[in-house]
Amino acid sequence: MAAANTYVAIASQTLASASASINFTSISGAYTDLVLICSMTGATAATEVFLRFNGDTATNYSCTYLEGTGSAAGSYRNSSQTGADLNYNAGVVTANPNVVKSNIMNYSNTTTYKTVLTRIDAPTLATGATVSLWRSTAAITSVNVYAVQNWAIGSTFSLYGILAA
């Protein structure tokens, strides 16, 4: 039996002032997957996008990247990081919006590590896909999206829940 309306907007934030960090907290465990969609520009300089879960700042994150820069394709890896850096070359630049769509799969289960599938598009720099791992079996209840440099006013961050029947 199909269940209707299983892709639900949970929360959304639009920056009213430049910032390098936003948080989604008290995330319900009622869904199966989370989808995070971010549209950002850099406030003053190019920057990147990191994810952290449940406030974990230990070296529990790793990523594998596939990116094309317009002249070359490449694959890269970051291991044992303090946050999941979603973009290797496809950073967030000033003036042009850059878009990240991350699928946080089976985020509330308590038996497996959490894997994130991301498509990132920075049209003036690169396009690519990233798979990220958070080595924790804890259910994800908060997501911190952060950067080294500020994002500009108007950058948007939206969190959705997908509920399986």
Partner: protein
Amino acid sequence: MANIKRANTSGITKSGAAISDVPDAPTIGAVSDPGTDGYASVAFTAATTGGAVTTYTATSTPGTLTGTSATSPISVTGLTLSTAYTFKVKGTNSTATGPESSASSSFTPTGHGAYDSIATVTLGSAASTITFSSIPSTYTHLQFRVMARDTATTGPQYSLKWQFNSDTGSNYTAYHDVNGGGSTTGSNGYGANTIAYLINTVTGSDASNTTQYGVSILDILDYASTNKYKTVRGLGGFDRNGSGQIRLGSSMWMNSGTAISSVIFSADGTQYATGTTIALYGIKGA
């Protein structure tokens, strides 16, 4: 009260025109979801006594939102999703507005998205295949969201493999993909095969990997078409803090005349491990 109203009934005229009875209260019926965000459909039964009614009005609590109709049901708009409402109905004619009905049962409107969950399989024990059958053709696209591990321990990764409608003929372009292994990139392609797959997106069950599964998202576009081949695009991979794969892939089922009504996922190594989860969603068109 009824006797008092009937003292003003037909036969009494005002400036030569007949004066109707005041309407009696209708009987409230069920409140239902008409399928549009923010709407409620309020049913009622007209009173068999009292004056003839020209317009019925349904009024919500809270909000005092109203809708009108000459017949049942009445559509009320502007409801806030996830808010509980009750409704009362009253009739109006040229003489007066009658008393309200009793309140309806509580009604809470929900959203009507374009993305429905059709079915989910989570393995409680290892299995060689996972099958989705009797897939309705009422959607425009399908999406599978997969978290999968193979019980095989001899390799670090395995492929996600599937067939449509039990077709085992050489009717699949198995894959074309672009992939990254962390330091190298590649692209693979393969022609007609008896099965389709997104390679290296299912993890194995070696000793160092008991808590981590590969993940994939498959979009099956225009799956119910009966006049063109069916294309699948995939995004999948895994990361194991020092190794991993990320893949963008596509494949095609070379069948133009049949809507996809079933999908069988077959294990590439030994079996899909306990905890493997595959969820099927339908995406509606306008």
